[in-house]
């Protein structure tokens, strides 16, 4: 074995102190294979070494939680014997380096995390961030990422039903691709990644192992730089066809009782799957690397153990049942081989050509990985960031401001994107993409799942604590718009380098915000992912603690859409109407004037709960024609969206009265105060609606009536629905220059 010099250690992303610790753990020098294993297992991506301490404080329990963080995905009980399995995960670095394959394999990876648990995936979401719309790379990355997500999801046949896209120059050098999938499993048939039972066979199944993606986890744990494109070979190539076969084979196998444990080979491939499975069971694993199905000749133990080739699974079967497992994978034309067995050594022992290529204790690779309490301090320019006087924003003509805001890529229609996603396959799409939350029917019944992914990165940049609370509140509010009751949340924490104190401060403040909001709204966090080092040449992204929330709808025949559906319906606002001064810190209205400053609007979680309860109650009682969350761009933008979001045959104007009082209308109507939902309902429902609002203690005010072909706000603005629609629909294609 080659000697380990300082350069080799550095190339493996390990510090001298970490290397010394490896020597101490082993009582000897590691060989190169072992160094490679430590490199990936102790990478930020696999070990969470900078975030682990902070994550301990998250609320993860609740009566509905069947599986919290630590497994391949979280699981919540849906009642009637079913459970929802879900997780969100980042694929940021690979997507920046190679957008199509990076995004595609991100989807492939999260799908495997879900079906590994025994669940059939029923829907995906994607939360995306790109650089400034004017940056030429933005169009290239957006087109590639969207094509990659569609290319994988459409082919495997899991609908992509929603998500979120936003643009900001802080993402110029580091886009974000966070992929979420939810699946359905029988609550008593959940599979876990555990290598239990001494002597049980360890079985490899799926695609063959190649030399692709070696050290992907290490790459994902470093900042991007000028030479990042040279890392393209560390990005894997996705094969959704093989994954479809793997999905069907695994779900078929899971109907029998021959499986003991199963885990997908994601980041760090065969190494992390075998180490983590052994770790969870408190056992050891022996691997015979000669038996691993390989795609290329001459592969070394180092390459076989660290390859991140996609579409592979590691299984532990009950002893004596190997033939049954092999038969199922063969029927689906997949590679399958017994590659080792469960041992009582507490060690990972990998043999190659009769020799012990690696021999490492499991504990130090998993729970014993380094954990850092890195220094945290607010950014030095925080006071500058927060200095903001909305009244200093140059006045704008109300109609012009509204049209400009509607065409801003953050607000504009995302149809260009979701037309490229099959959002209907599996016949679950009750409420599709483009609205607040998606609503997916569960096969066989009226039961449905509401799904929403959210984060306002600008709010988080100005105040990561408040921003994280807003993310949770908005995701749950979106669910309320389709009548869904939140059951659980998964997060994906995207930040810059943890080695900088201001980034650690952003991370810890965000986690504190997530915790507080989740506690207040009683939503447990059941799975998640941390992605650090999202920065290029010392410039970090806006902090983005993305969340996705899964909620339950008892009868998805009773739901609401986001847009006005019937002329004559009354329009009302749930939530505080016209209170204090306009809240424009971090708003789209301020960004329109080139300003990102101030503080996010204050968020009162008691008011939030009341508004959500009121909306949910109304939707579930079938009282509402529409419900639309009031967020980016504020009330006037929300009302305009209600006029234009529907299909062409369902686009109606509205006649409204909105009195801004003493405040400037071009500010007040774009205030981004949270905890507000615009609803519409038949006039005959008025009393019932008001009663439901009062019962939930939610403020309620009537704004006007649906009808006509213009959005007309008395004395302030009048714009035809078609002009509004053109501005809104043209925004994104303009970014793409087509």
């Amino acid at each position: 074995m080659s000697a380990i010099d300082a350069e080799t250690i550095a190339r493996h992303g390990l510090t001298p102190a970490e290397y010394a610790r490896i020597q101490e753990v082993l009582g000897r020098d590691p060989n190169l294979v072992e160094l490679g294993i430590f490199s990936v297992m102790w990478s930020e991506h696999c070990s969470y070494k900078s975030s682990r301490r902070l994550l301990r404080g998250l609320p993860t329990s609740g009566p509905q939680v069947l599986q919290g963080p630590g497994e391949n995905a979280g699981v919540v009980d849906l009642g009637s014997g079913l459970a929802a399995v879900f997780k969100m995960e980042s694929h940021n670095h690979p997507s920046f380096i190679e957008p199509y394959q990076g995004a595609a394999t991100g989807v492939g990876g999260i799908l495997r995390d879900v079906f590994t648990m025994g669940a059939r995936p029923i829907a995906s979401l994607d939360l995306l961030r790109f650089g400034a719309p004017g940056n030429p790379r933005t169009a290239y990355l957006l087109a590639g990422v969207v094509a990659g997500i569609g290319g994988y999801g459409n082919a495997i046949g899991v609908p992509t039903v929603g998500g979120e896209i936003a643009f900001d120059e802080s993402f110029d050098g580091n886009c974000l691709v966070n992929a979420f999938t939810v699946g359905i499993v029988k609550a008593d048939r959940i599979f876990r990644g555990s290598a239990a039972g001494l002597g049980n066979p360890v079985i490899y199944a799926g695609a063959r192992t190649g030399r692709d993606g070696i050290h992907g986890a290490t790459m994902a744990s470093a900042s991007l730089g000028a030479g990042s494109e040279e890392k393209r070979p560390t990005v894997q190539v996705g094969d959704p066809f093989t994954e479809k076969l793997l999905l069907e084979a695994c779900l078929t196998l899971m109907k029998s009782d021959c499986l003991v444990g199963i885990q997908d080979m994601g980041a760090a491939g065969l190494t992390s799957s075998s180490v983590e499975m052994a770790g969870r069971a408190g056992n050891g694993i022996r691997l015979d690397l000669d038996r691993v199905p390989v795609r290329e000749t001459g592969m070394t133990p180092y390459e076989i153990l660290l390859s991140e080739s996609q579409e592979r699974m590691l299984l532990v079967a009950a002893a004596g049942r190997e033939a049954e497992v092999e038969a199922v994978f063969r029927e689906w034309d997949l590679s399958v081989a017994v590659v080792g067995e469960v041992t009582d050594t507490g060690r990972l022992q990998a043999f190659f050509r009769g020799e012990l290529a690696a021999d490492l204790p499991i504990g130090p690779l998993t729970d014993g990985a380094p954990s850092y309490d890195r220094p945290a301090a607010p950014p030095r320019d925080l006071a500058d960031r927060r200095r903001f006087d909305p009244v200093a924003l140059p006045p704008l003509d109300l109609a012009g401001a509204l049209l400009s805001l509607l065409s801003r890529p953050n607000i504009a229609s995302k149809e260009w994107v979701f037309r490229q996603y099959d959002h209907q396959v599996r016949l679950g799409g009750v409420v599709g993409p483009g609205g607040d939350a998606a609503l997916v029917r569960i096969e066989g019944g009226p039961l449905g799942l509401g799904l929403s992914a959210d984060c306002n990165s600008r709010f988080c940049f100005l105040d990561p604590y408040e921003g994280a609370r807003h993310a949770v509140a908005e995701a749950c509010r979106n669910l309320a718009c389709v009548g869904a009751e939140p059951l659980g949340l998964t997060d994906c924490l995207n930040f810059g380098s943890p080695e900088r104190p201001e980034i650690m401060w952003e991370l810890s403040e965000s986690i504190r915000g997530l915790s507080d909001a989740c506690r207040a709204l009683a939503v447990p966090i059941v799975s998640g992912n941390v992605s650090l080092y999202n920065e290029t040449e010392g410039r970090a992204i806006q902090p983005t603690p993305a969340v996705a929330v899964v909620g339950r709808v008892d009868d998805c025949r009773k739901t609401a859409v986001a847009w006005f559906r019937r002329p004559g319906d009354l329009v009302a606002l749930l939530g505080r109407a016209w209170g204090g001064p306009p809240q424009l810190g971090g708003s789209e209205r301020a960004a329109l004037a080139g300003v990102t400053a101030g503080r996010p609007p204050p968020l009162d979680l008691e008011l939030e709960k009341a508004v959500q309860l009121a909306c949910r109650t109304m939707v579930r009682a079938g009282l509402l024609s529409s419900a639309h969350d009031c967020s980016d761009g504020g009330l006037l933008v929300t009302l305009a969206e209600c006029c234009i979001m529907g299909p062409p045959s369902e686009r109606y104007g509205a006649r409204l009265a909105l009195d801004p009082g003493d405040h400037r209308a071009d500010l007040a109507l774009f205030s981004e105060e949270p905890s507000r939902i615009v609803v519409s309902f038949g006039p005959e429902r008025r009393e019932e609606v008001e009663r439901a609002a009062a019962a939930a203690r939610a403020p309620f005010s009537t704004l006007g009536v649906v009808g006509g072909d213009a959005l007309a706000v008395a004395g302030l603005v009048g714009l035809s629905v078609s002009r509004l629609a053109d501005a809104w629909r043209g925004g994104l294609p303009a970014v793409l220059g087509r």
């Binding site: 459409n154 094969d239 479809k244 959002h423 209907q424 016949l427 009750v430």
Partner: protein, 226 residues
Amino acid sequence: MVGIVVFPGANCDHDAYHAVAHVLGASARFVWHKETSLSGATHVILPGGFSYGDYLRCGALARFSPVMGEVRRFADAGGPVLGICNGFQILCEAGLLPGVLGRNEGLRFVCADTFVRVESADSAATRGLSPGTVLRLPIAHAEGRYQRGPGGLDGDGATGRTLLRYCDEAGETTRAANPNGAEGNVAGVANRAGNVVGLMPHPERASEAVLGNVDGRRILEAFLRC
């Protein structure tokens, strides 16, 4: 009994089964592509998806699946065969329907609602529908740009006929209503005998009120009546 052929990579097989069996109450069973018998099926559906990943021309590999010999015999004997999306592509590749389906004009996958106008009632999937009827049906494909074969469509000596054309809500077959650049806005065709049908739109996705559209039921019901 409706036989729903499952090619590796098919992903609308369960949807077709659901629409036929659970929504419309017909009996149905899956037929694995390695089978060499249709087990007494009276109707055959080739569902949508990405057979063999469709890394080559769509359907180019699926036409060689063992079950296709039996599908051909069934079709030649006049049995009703409905290919939806990828199933349409496979039927074209197998020569059971005329023409080819090329990459969409915009070079991107398109998932959206379209309107289609019924052009002929003389097929296994349109019998009983009046020509001129406008239906709203969803599409989801990257390769749906239909082009006629050398034999043409609808004329003397043609090997097939046009069943559906993309149109606007009023039934006009405009350029803007054509989502993929298909020649003549063609969205669905039948063979000369009318028993073999290929559709790019997905009728099975439009057969339940809870999903917001029931227009597809008229196609599936017509097919099951055969």
